[in-house]
């Protein structure tokens, strides 16, 4: 018997039991739908993060102390500090692809204004920082070069901080306390307008890095990183190479030895941040796959019941000349058809579901072709895998016993 005929026979058998067929496929429908919707959430998060980073500027470069792999002389990368102000100055002076630099000393601190309390990120920066990061000042102004040089206790508030300490009002000229040290507010940043999300660029306070060194961190000889902007986005790579060269000389690194710093651009950072969403995607997809597996077991269960219920039919088919292979194929194809139809409907459910999620929640979702193909193949193999045992059982029946079965 040809495969086409077997497929026809399977379809007929399925259509004779439409309701049962649908209920059997339901497990797969939900499973495939869940896999696609869950993966779309993970993928959406990734795209979200990448676009947020991209919006910060593509000509941004970050210089950080070297990694922990440095001969094991130091502990974790975070505690390892070997960048100095002199390094920053050397970069600005000697790299012609570099436009602005800003030494950074970052920390977190508790800030107080009257009876209000807020915990936020403190960015100790140079005066060019707003130019590097595309920050716009809403009220007042950013600190100047001379204010940085003389380590003035002045600060610029992010919109979120201003909202929390001053209820969004005009705060320029007020005194707030950062780690109990009084700072005068000289400016307010314009909001980036990103509610919630992965990290909030409005929830910061900028202070001169020199002040941060002396007053907040207590180390005057080191800076935690250097923010750099290249002259143009196209010259970012060139700027990176120049910075590396300069710093190797600054740090007296012998030729062939590893760098004790690293320079990264925005898209590198976006990439590694997006990497972290992979785990989310795998986790969500994994949970959803379990429902697909349960759906597969459902198919096996119904197919087993169906074999028992149709023993007579199997006997009849055998008595008129159906071979073992014909029966095996018929039941296997029934299972595959069920799971494929479940797969198709599930794709609809998944795509629709992820559209609903992005419509009714702040989450971004992205349905990828890959996830559709993956879920579909998974559904098909569930059909083959869980359909095989019942099909084999059916094909191994003895025709006389099957015919006599009540």
């Amino acid at each position: 018997m040809t495969l086409v005929r077997t497929i026809k026979i399977s379809f007929k058998a399925l259509s004779r039991n439409k309701m049962r067929s649908f209920l059997t496929a339901l497990g797969i429908i939900i499973g495939v739908g869940a896999v696609i919707a869950m993966i779309s959430i993970g993928e959406g998060a990734k795209v979200d993060i990448q676009s947020r980073f991209a919006s910060m500027g593509t000509n941004l470069l970050f210089v950080r102390p070297g990694s922990q792999s440095f001969r094991g002389r130091h502990g974790g990368g975070g505690t390892y500090q070997n960048l100095k102000e002199a390094d920053a100055e050397a970069i600005l002076e000697r790299c012609d692809a570099v436009k602005y630099i800003s030494p950074s000393v970052n920390t977190r601190a508790q800030v107080i204004y009257q009876n209000k309390n807020w915990n936020t990120s403190i960015y100790g920066t140079g005066d060019k920082y707003p130019l590097i990061r595309n920050w716009t000042i809403d009220e007042g102004e950013y600190f100047t070069e001379s204010q940085v040089k003389t380590a003035q206790k002045v600060c610029v508030l992010g919109a979120e901080v201003n909202k929390n300490l001053f209820e969004g009002g005009y705060s320029v000229g007020q005194i707030i306390r950062i780690k109990k040290i009084p700072f005068r507010v000289i400016g307010i940043l314009k909001t980036k307008g990103e509610a919630g999300g992965w990290f909030n660029q409005d929830d910061v306070i900028a202070v001169p890095y020199t002040t941060a060194q002396r007053r907040l961190v207590g180390r005057t000889d080191r800076i935690s990183s250097i923010d750099v902007s290249a002259v143009t986005a196209e010259r970012t790579q060139e700027a990176m190479d120049q910075i590396k060269e300069v710093l190797r000389i600054q740090h007296k690194i012998a030729p062939g030895a590893e760098d004790d710093f690293n320079v990264r651009n925005m898209s590198d950072i976006a990439e590694s941040a997006a990497e972290s969403t992979k785990i989310l995607t795998i986790l969500l997809g994994g949970i959803a796959s379990i429902s697909l597996l349960v759906g597969g077991i459902g198919i096996m269960n119904i197919m087993l019941v169906s074999v028992t219920e149709r023993i007579r039919e199997i006997g009849i088919r055998m008595s008129i000349g159906a071979k073992e292979r014909d029966i095996l194929l018929q039941f296997l194809i029934e299972a595959i058809v069920l799971s494929l139809m479940g797969g198709f409907l599930g794709i609809g459910l998944g795509v629709g579901g992820s559209a609903l999620i992005s419509h009714f929640s702040p989450m971004t979702t992205l349905v990828s072709i890959g996830s559709i193909v993956l879920a579909f193949l998974f559904a098909a193999s569930v059909g083959v895998f869980f359909g095989f045992y019942p099909a084999r059982k059916a094909s191994k029946l003895d025709p006389i016993d099957a015919l006599r079965y009540e």
Binding site: R312, G321, A322, E324, R325, L403
Partner: protein, 233 residues
């Protein structure tokens, strides 16, 4: 008597069922020849081995020992797939309880054996329609099996049995579930097929009346042929 139109040769067939510790000897050494164009009735009390013999002749089962030659080929040595092939090409079955597929039209039921052969889909319908006509069911092709009477069901079963143009039709108590009048009509169908198509018919029956259409009869008792009738062997 062995002439060249011998269809079936049974030589010392035995069939032993193992039920737990005990052996049940359903057939105890049956030897018999059946010729092309015969109508043979197999009779005997319940448990005498009639169905067992039919199953072996119908290639649904294999004898424990002995030889079975169908068309000169020793089918007792065939494997499951080869037997299925023989059933598909050479044998048609008619059962006491009809054994039609539920919720399926008479046409689809009749087509079934052809689906498992290499006959093209186009021919399939044509042959099935012809078979239904032969059993007097023209115009009932699209009726589902739950919409027709017992007699009609058995006609569908006969149509299905003869659709692949077999040399042999086996009927195990084909009138057992029918009233006398309907039973007689079914027997007429068999006689007709035998006369017009030359199909060999073997039927199992308890009913002397039914057996009257048979030119030859064998009586089984305890798995042995007790006596022959109408065949001076």
């Amino acid at each position: 008597m062995d002439n060249n139109n011998t269809l079936i040769q049974l030589e010392d067939l035995t069939k032993i069922y193992q039920v737990g510790e005990t052996e049940v000897k359903a057939l105890n050494g049956v030897s018999y020849n059946i010729h092309q164009g015969d109508i043979l009735a197999i009779m005997g009390p319940s448990g005498s081995g009639k169905s067992t013999l039919m199953n072996i002749i119908g290639c649904l089962d294999k004898p424990t020992s002995g030889r079975y030659l169908l068309d000169g080929k020793e089918v007792s040595t065939y494997n499951k797939n080869q037997l299925a092939e023989i059933r598909n090409k050479k044998i048609g079955f008619v059962f006491q309880n009809f054994n039609l597929l539920a919720r399926t039209t008479t046409l689809e039921n009749t087509e079934l054996p052809l689906l498992y052969s290499d006959i093209s889909s186009k021919k399939t319908k044509e042959y099935a329609m012809k078979a239904l006509e032969l059993v007097g069911l023209q115009g009932r092709e699209m009726h589902k099996t739950n919409q027709i009477s017992g007699g009609e069901k058995q006609r569908v079963a006969i149509a299905r049995a003869l659709v692949n143009n077999p040399s042999l039709i086996l009927a195990d108590e084909p009138t057992g579930n029918l009233d006398t009048k309907t039973g007689d009509e079914i027997m007429d169908v068999f006689v007709d097929l035998n006369k017009k198509q030359g199909i060999t018919v073997i039927l199992v029956t308890h009913d002397q009346e039914v057996a009257r259409i048979a030119q030859k009869k064998i009586f089984l008792r305890d798995g042995l042929i007790e006596r022959l009738n109408g065949d001076r062997q």
